[in-house]
């Protein structure tokens, strides 16, 4: 594992755990629920993924169903 990758992973973990220590109350999550924070509609996202599958060899880690929200 390269030094750069280790630094990136450590920074990501630190950011995630730091964020976990500062809860955001439910009443302050309005901006997270706005339309512009939502992922693309499923059928359009599925078509994009289909095109990428055809033109590329890399598989997966390309966005989850809740990747843009973090709340339901």
């Amino acid at each position: 594992m390269t030094r750069r990758l280790r630094v990136a992973l450590a920074s990501t973990c630190a950011l995630v755990f730091w964020a976990g220590c500062a809860p955001v109350p439910a009443y302050q999550r309005g901006r997270l629920m706005q339309r512009s924070m939502q992922p693309k509609p499923p059928l359009d996202a599925a078509f994009d993924a289909h095109v990428e599958d055809l033109r590329e060899s890399a598989i997966g880690a390309s966005g989850g169903e809740s990747a843009s929200c973090g709340c339901r």
Binding site: L32, S57, I59, A61, G70
Partner: protein
């Protein structure tokens, strides 16, 4: 029609039980067009929420037509006209056991004249830490049977396993971070190996002569990918959604992808405009060669004429619009994709237009 019947059945069941039922019906037509092929893909999807259970059914078709350069057995490159239809259908049920826990299971079937793929799947989603975190783990089994039109004796098989993990964290009141990971393992018949094209031949120089052999890939492939994504709400009703992905596989293919989308709400939030950009760099597979050589009685065990295994530079720009008109959303998108294959002289570029449109209705 099948999806409509499913919707009616789901609605009837829900109503009969006295449960609240809500529906979301979607229809799309997407088009992919490059100088070699045109794909028209109509798709319909119906989602019914019945109490704590959500059931989704979809059906879609890829109608593919065009001409492909095929290296035939006499090693002469020729253009072959073709058209075919791929059908794809799926059913998924997700049940919320509590406000924090959801388990879903699904089954997807993809069928072409010479290819059949079954994909059963499971996914568990759990919210943690006062719902600050959404963690998910998913598993897919991929069972594929590959044939060759006009050759009833040709039958190859592939068995794949795929695991996805996801960790989405609310970082601040306007920022979420997501870490994604995917691992796959695929075992294939040894005849042509994994993901090889049963119609494609590879030219091999043998002294002064040239011969053509069927494309053949290794019969195992393992892949791993990880990504970091963020969604940041800024300037009122606008957001930035961006991500970075690294992927590697056991064929020495390594890929890096970066993407970003600026999303904004206009006209009293009735119009959603989404401008997207995405770029990928991908290295060649270890067994890819621009000119395969055979010396003496030894021929290359693995050989490919797949441009996607030769190394790739890819970029895409796309505009997506979503107009909300009461419970109905009218959506449309238009994009351009640029593909460069610097290590594949027969096809150095392959650029494409991507377009689509349709409706979503909530009732």
């Amino acid at each position: 029609m099948r999806v409509s019947l499913t919707a009616l059945a789901l609605g009837a069941i829900g109503t009969g039980c006295g449960a609240t039922v809500s529906h979301r019906a979607s229809a799309r037509v997407h088009v992919y067009d490059d100088p070699r092929i045109t794909v028209v893909s109509p798709t319909v999807e119906e989602q019914a929420q019945i109490a704590d259970t959500k059931v989704t059914a979809h059906y879609g078709v890829d109608a593919v037509s065009g001409a492909t350069q095929a290296l035939t057995v006499d090693a002469v490159s020729s253009a072959t006209r073709f058209s075919e239809v791929r059908q794809d259908a799926g059913l998924r049920a997700a049940h919320a056991f509590s406000a924090e826990t959801e388990l879903s299971g699904g089954y997807n079937l993809s069928r072409e004249p010479d290819d059949l793929v079954h994909v059963p799947s499971l996914r568990l989603t759990q919210e943690l830490f006062e719902r600050m975190v959404r963690a998910a783990v998913g598993y897919q089994l991929v069972v594929e049977s590959i044939g060759r039109t006009g050759d009833p004796l040709f039958r190859e098989h592939a068995l794949g396993h795929r695991v996805d993990v996801e960790w989405t964290q609310i970082a601040t009141r306007s920022l979420t971070l997501t870490v994604l990971g995917t691992g796959t393992a695929t075992e294939c018949s040894a005849g042509i190996g994994c993901f090889a094209n049963p119609y494609r031949y590879v030219g091999i120089a043998r002294g002064a002569a040239h011969i053509a052999l069927p494309e053949r890939h290794p019969d195992q492939r393992f892949t791993g990918a990880g990504a970091l994504r963020l969604s940041w709400a800024f300037a009122g009703s606008s957001a930035l959604q961006a991500g970075s992905r690294w992927a590697v596989d056991s064929w020495s293919v390594a890929a890096y992808t970066a993407d970003a989308a600026v999303v904004t709400e206009l006209f009293d939030d009735r119009l959603l405009a989404r401008a997207e950009a995405r770029a990928t760099l991908q290295s060649r597979a270890s067994f890819y060669d621009e000119r395969y050589q055979g010396s003496g009685g030894v021929l290359p065990a693995y050989r490919t004429a797949d441009a996607e295994l030769s190394g790739l530079r890819n970029a895409r720009a796309q505009l997506f619009l979503d107009w909300a008109w009461g419970p109905v959303h009218i959506v449309g998108q238009l994009g351009r994709m640029w593909n460069y294959y610097p290590g594949f002289p027969a096809l150095p570029t392959r650029h494409a237009w991507i377009a689509g449109g349709g409706l979503d209705a909530n009732f």
